[in-house]
Symmetry: C2
Subunit: 393 residues, 2 copies
């Protein structure tokens, strides 16, 4: 077993440092204007010159964390410095301090989304990792200050424009905040107590609203009073990859709290239920959406296989295995590993494809856009290497 | 030939009056609250109790037009009266007169979209058809007044919130306005001169900005100065079904103007170019999206077969055949007809499926949602019956 894990560790480390990270450095890094393009074709050709604000922060997290945990390559630092500069100079709207969603290659505003704070949460992730990797405490402080601004946006009526006239509760926010704050806490231990309290609050929100034993599901949206919206497509929507991502965030918190059994139970329950809903027994892979009551989907990409749910399922199953020792999680991890190897890897040009049909055939061969870039895939290799490093010893 | 067209006329008429219109009357008509549900499963079970504002207007156009052109069934009138009542009572925001996008079954606001005027244009279509079918001139006036409000929204800065910080021109607006105004003109001939002038303006906009001989494409979006946005996914996006819908709107206007040769040439050119881009030579059917330069798509549903592009391709090819007599258009019409018969019809429960994979297999079996309901399919049968009625004589 240890030998198997050693082999896998070497394989994942090599995929990260010899394949995925070089791909984006070579084709995505904009050495002229700074920052990173993500709209790349299969072979790295640029398809879209606008830049994703999410990905300036996400890539910063990835390359800074790889620098700290894997290998201290100077080129990672050069990219990280460039990402930080691009974010600070171009990604904030000077009129109100909110972040854009998309900017031009030179950093001119293109799209600002008023409904979400995800540009901000990914910048917090990035600043926190940057401060740790390169010993820049001022960026831990900046990450914390940005978090305080996010809190203000979330708690002040009229700043975030909701999609629905009657507000709902969404799983995405507490789930992302759990991950964001756990990274921020590592960078800014001065505020550990406060951040622990906030993390507890978000976990409590997940437990109260989105964990539904009556249907054995993690739901994406519900009413403010906690009732399910079973008459509506959105209210029945299950996003197994998203819930499984939340599962390993919870397991990660359990690990931080020395194996807290309640959190371990919560995380593995989320994984068990949503693996059951999400894994395609026919063709393999985690599908995109499922209806909570098994009714017909309205999302026409519901049965497609996207790259990121496979990443999240890899991490969640390997985490659960490392923490519980249950063989079932190892088998599930191996099933995902095998599916990725057979369908997502591109041996010719490197990196992964992103979008497969239900049957595993390729829908579009591009490597990146506003939603796919250096995040889920390198994060999977990074987090799995952490776990494999324990398991191989 | 005439016999073939006679047979096809009878078949399409029967699909309309014996299959599609009864499906929505039976399962969608809300006799309790008024208006129409469209979120229906394969067998008509309600999947979503909220109502689409677009479809209150669209269904009104369909049932009123079927009443006027096909068969004067009392139940069509009952539904039309209910749709009009529901629209007038529940679909306008009393605070500013703008229309909602989605309301609850009782008509409470759920989603209001600030970027578009399509709820309004479909209500204009519906009111115009209602006034003609049931001899209610006051609704022709209401349709016209609503059009004047739309003009105001389009010409007043700050009312419609654009997605992009730098405004672009989109094909969708002039294309929809061309259809809307041609229907309004039939209902409100008092303003024929003004509406002709406005229609001329929209056709001129289509010619100037979206017809691109250098690439033989109809593009969906460009800069205000007419330059293409070839560095961006949106700027290279082709939507063949949408462009082909525009093609038959133009042919329809050519027909209204006694076969105006310039318009005929414009319409058939749009059809020729975009049939070439859109028809799937491998598996049949019109695909959803294509990149203008043949690069990789970022829209992961780009190669799927949706119901509505097939409807638009049927109408456009049959129109072009009826007006030019070129056999190529009849062959193309027959290819679409055959593809629909083999893949979209549901002999067991009636109506059509909406969403197929590239290979023609079913993605989701539902019959309706906020975007699929009684519009493109019954409109195709209605408009094709008009054309077949000429061709059979």
């Amino acid at each position: 077993m240890k030998q198997k894990f050693e082999q896998l560790y070497q394989q994942y480390r090599s995929m990260l440092v010899d394949n995925v990270l070089p791909f984006w450095l070579r084709y995505g890094f904009d050495r002229v204007n700074g920052g990173l393009y993500t709209g790349l074709d299969r072979d790295g050709t640029i398809l879209e010159t606008d830049k994703s604000v999410w990905f300036q922060g996400r890539a910063l997290w990835v390359y800074a964390t790889a620098y700290r945990e894997m290998v201290q390559k100077a080129e990672y630092q050069v990219l990280c410095d460039s990402l930080v500069g691009f974010i600070e100079e171009h990604c904030f709207d000077p009129t109100d301090g909110r972040m854009y969603f998309r900017v031009s290659k030179e950093g001119k505003p293109v799209v600002k989304r008023l409904r979400y704070v995800f540009s901000e949460t990914f910048a917090i992730l990035g600043f926190a990792a940057y401060s740790r990797a390169f010993n820049k405490p001022e960026y831990a402080k900046k990450a914390y200050d940005l978090y305080k601004r996010v809190q203000l946006y979330l708690s002040t009526a009229g700043i975030l424009i909701p999609k629905f006239e009657t507000p709902s509760k969404g799983f995405g926010l507490p789930m992302i905040m759990l991950n964001t704050l756990s990274e921020l806490r590592l960078a800014y231990p001065q505020k550990e107590e406060e951040l622990n309290r906030d993390i507890d609050g978000y976990i409590q929100e997940i437990r109260t609203y989105f964990i539904r034993p009556e249907l054995q599901i993690v739901v994406e949206q519900c009413n403010l009073d906690g009732s399910l919206q079973l008459d509506h497509f959105e209210g029945r929507l299950l996003n197994p990859g998203h819930a499984i991502e939340g599962a390993w965030f919870v397991l990660n918190e359990a690990r931080y709290r020395n194996g807290d059994p309640d959190l371990m139970n919560l995380g593995t329950t989320m994984l068990d239920w949503m693996w059951d809903k999400g894994w395609d027994q026919d063709a393999g892979g985690i599908i995109y959406f499922k209806d909570a009551l098994g009714r017909s989907a309205t999302e026409y990409w519901h049965d497609m296989k996207f790259w990121w749910p496979q990443c999240e399922a890899s991490i969640a199953n390997l985490s659960a295995y490392a923490m519980t020792g249950k063989e079932q999680y190892l088998l599930q991890f191996e099933a995902v590993h095998q599916y990725i190897a057979e369908h997502f890897l591109d041996p010719e040009y490197g990196e992964w494809y992103g979008y497969l049909h239900k049957d595993g055939t390729l829908s579009t061969p591009l490597k990146g856009n506003m939603y796919k870039g250096p995040f889920h895939i390198p994060r999977m290799y990074l987090v799995c290497c952490r776990l494999l490093d324990e398991l191989r010893r």
